[in-house]
Amino acid sequence: MAKPRVATTSLAGCFGCHMSLLDIDERILQLIELVDFDKSPIDDFKNFTGRCAVGLIEGGCCNEENVAVLRDFRAHCDVLISVGDCAIMGGIPALRNTIPLEECYREAYLEGPTVHNPAGRIPNDPELPLLLNKVYPCHEVVKVDYHLPGCPPLADTLWQALVALLNNQPLELPYELVKYD
């Protein structure tokens, strides 16, 4: 029987949640026995090769590419999990939500103290994904089945969640694993 497939991605996040996934230490060998990784930075697959049992999403949606990737995950994964505070509430990137987008661009490309941009141009190549007006948590864009809070979630949180889901058990986190920091 083919092993269930797991896909992971990082949207507007810092890869801390992926680091936390690697932080399950030698249990990663057990995980490889249990699952195959599909689209993920872990194996560098750029596209889905088929249907996945579990999709882990790190980071919220700050641009149109994030939204496209997230919708792609929803289309290919049976169970979609928001991993970490950025995916759940926008996190640090969402600090810009109370600042107008124009002001963000001005600070980043024109007026910031470390900016050197004599031409005074704001990047607008069509290759660049368009920024959204706000940073959105994943569950405000697509339906998300579970949330694993934390910045990042503890390795044990990720491990317990994956083991529960892959064994068709209910995902119940003990008190010590529900943390927002």
Binding site: I88, M89, G90, I92, A94, T98, H147, L173, Y180, D181
Partner: protein, 237 residues
């Protein structure tokens, strides 16, 4: 003792004295009723509604409602806890609570209540409101992004410190914590040792230069849910 009042909380008979609130009677009997705006020693406020219980089927705030003979109180039931969960969800989306870099994280009562109720994500859309910060005072910081308008600092300043450093202005979604000065906290007589500063349940009123003093794992709510000490004191049997 003819002055005793008998009532029932979640099927358990407890006794109280006239004039006592449901919350304090429950606490004496070792029953924890979750609360945010209530703080022992301050006049009950009844604003956060987290302590909502059903009294003979009707919702009441336990911190303001006096006991009466024969009351049937529902506290730790799926229905009541569902109401509380919704209130907590609303408190999270109505402010900008970034737990990951908050100095109060691990010791914050709002966060601890969310942990207690096992909230992994609020069900309502985030509002990301525009709020201000007042860092003018040399020793105290007001971070209104995290303020839940519980009024504990307002009452503590008046009732315990004998000052009037804080108050509310505005109505509804525009209500916010203000200081007793033209604009800045620095122009008030607030001092760092005021009870008002320590009264804040969240990371809204902070003492400067003491953040992150306790490492993760040794903070107030790292291992035990908030209220555990009250239920642990319950009489056995």
């Amino acid at each position: 003792m003819s002055q005793k009042i008998e009532l029932t909380i979640d099927g358990r008979e407890i006794s109280a004295v006239p004039g006592q609130t449901i919350l304090s009677a429950a606490e004496e009997a070792g029953v924890y009723i979750p609360r945010l705006c209530h703080l022992k020693g301050l006049t009950p406020h009844g604003s956060c509604r987290i302590c909502t219980v059903l009294v003979n089927g009707r919702p009441q705030s336990a911190c303001t409602q006096p006991v009466a003979p024969g009351m049937l109180v529902e506290n730790d039931t799926p229905k009541v806890n569902g109401l509380r969960r919704n209130l907590l969800d609303m408190l999270f989306v109505e402010g900008n609570h970034f737990c990951m870099f908050c100095e109060k994280s691990g010791n914050c009562e709002l966060q601890a209540l969310a942990y207690r109720f096992g909230i992994t994500a609020p069900k309502y859309p985030y509002m990301f409101p525009q709020r201000t910060l007042d860092a003018s005072h040399p020793d105290i910081l007001i971070e209104r992004n995290r303020c839940i308008l519980c009024g504990r600092c307002v009452r503590a300043s008046q009732e315990l410190d004998g000052k009037h450093a804080f108050d509310f202005i505005g109505r509804g979604a525009h209500k916010r914590l203000h200081v007793n000065a033209e604009a800045r906290l620095a122009d008030t007589d607030a001092a760092v040792e005021d009870r008002a500063v320590a009264a804040c349940p969240v990371g809204s009123l902070l003492r400067k230069r003491v953040g992150y003093a306790l490492p993760v794992g040794r903070r107030a709510y790292d291992h035990q849910p908030i209220g555990s000490e009250i239920s642990a004191a319950a009489p056995q049997g």
